[in-house]
Symmetry: C2
Subunit: 225 residues, 2 copies
DNA sequence: GTCTGTGAAAACATTCACAGCG
DNA sequence: CGCTGTGAATGTTTTCACAGAC
């Protein structure tokens, strides 16, 4: 059914970022018991062109059947393998304030194979406390605990003023993937991947369109402009 | 100092999305008392090329001084105007579970001019309760309350199974910008803007690079491949 | 000399369109 | 006949490189 590409060259980051989107839709389809999906129908569901879906998948192999489409369970499994989601990933949260605690107890991570295994904070009042069965450690203990716990992903949940320091510390401990909740742009060496989670930034770019809504409406009514 | 563009044509969405990133850096610079910043230095701070910053800004006018750079306070003010952040935006949260409550009490929204003015849920046990001084209403009250409260942004914080229904309802009430926290792709007419906030999706695309980390390391050491 | 603003060039991403398979 | 996989064409975004302002 599939033949892995001989040499998987350079795959664009935009493509990698769409794979989890495909996964979510496939999970839903699998839950509904749909055995097969075409790029056309998947595209309808996600508002993505069918050609894009086919081209994205073709970077990794041939997963479909002509005339039929893609086997939902099989494709889901293959994408999981491509993304390395066929095993558990261990994460550390730095910053156990209001936000850090909310993240620590979010059930969505565990459900998808992401496990929080270590908590860090620098507030002496918190160090030694237990949260969800995990002890809160001082950030100075990171160099010991992070390798020992097999942590490969760091979650930054400290105030903006502390974020870059924490990123540098995590990177120096060998962490190469960071989920940054601090409302600031942090930088790291190019070998380190960073994804920012900032709802305010998301809102701030939407208001541009709200402001120009009249123009948008006119455009929708008369696309000849 | 600036001359607004005569006809601001079609500005790419990628550009709009970078403006809040520039804003955050400028806010930080303003707080530090830096009067002026060059595209080179701003680019260093954000890991963005200076040419990109200059080109982005040039879509909207001429904000810099040759030989000097950009006046931090002035540029910040101009970007705020461009994005429509010179006044308050009123938002409604749909879904007052664990996540919705965390969002409702997040101080970062208010600090940037985004105010939660209405809460909705369909759980009869919650309707009528008060949270942060706001009454929780039934979703069936949305058509009355949303126009009355001047809500233009909707925050979706319901389970995946409810998300599309809630989106449709919000859109039918005239909301044209949505912040979606549900772990599912929702669709809306092209006049409606949607931004997804899903940390799991962010993680799932980083694991690809973690899996291929060896290759990445080799590439960094010997870029001739 | 420094740094902006911007056409032109290069790189990158999406869509088209169709041969070929089931 | 329906749908995939994919080169070729098109569209978009980034980068280059330099004239001109301070």
């Amino acid at each position: 059914m599939s033949r892995p590409k001989a040499a998987v060259g350079h795959i664009p980051d935009v493509v990698i970022r769409r794979l989890p989107i495909y996964m979510r839709a496939l999970e839903q389809l699998a839950a509904q018991g749909a055995p097969v999906i075409s790029s056309l129908d998947l595209g309808r569901q996600l508002a993505i062109t069918p050609a894009q879906i086919r081209k994205d998948l073709s970077f990794f192999g041939e997963f479909g059947k002509q005339g039929a489409g893609y086997d939902v369970t099989y494709l889901l499994h293959e994408i999981r393998k491509i993304l390395g989601l066929d095993h558990e990933w261990r994460m550390a949260i730095v910053g156990v304030g209001r936000l850090g605690r909310a993240i620590a107890s979010y059930p969505g991570f565990t459900a998808q194979g992401f496990r929080v295994v270590a908590l860090f904070d620098d507030d002496p009042a918190k160090i030694g406390d237990t949260l969800d069965g995990l002890t809160i450690h001082a950030t100075s203990d990171m160099p010991q605990i992070i390798p020992a716990e097999g942590v490969t992903i760091g979650i930054v949940a400290v105030p903006a003023s502390q974020a870059q320091r924490v990123v540098d510390l995590l990177v120096s401990c060998g962490v190469t993937a960071l989920l940054n909740y601090a409302p600031i742009s942090v930088t790291a060496p190019p070998t380190v991947r960073i994804r920012d989670v900032d709802p305010v930034v998301a809102l701030q770019s939407m208001t541009y369109y709200l402001k120009h809504y009249d123009r948008l409406l006119a455009l929708a009514a008369n696309p000849s402009d």
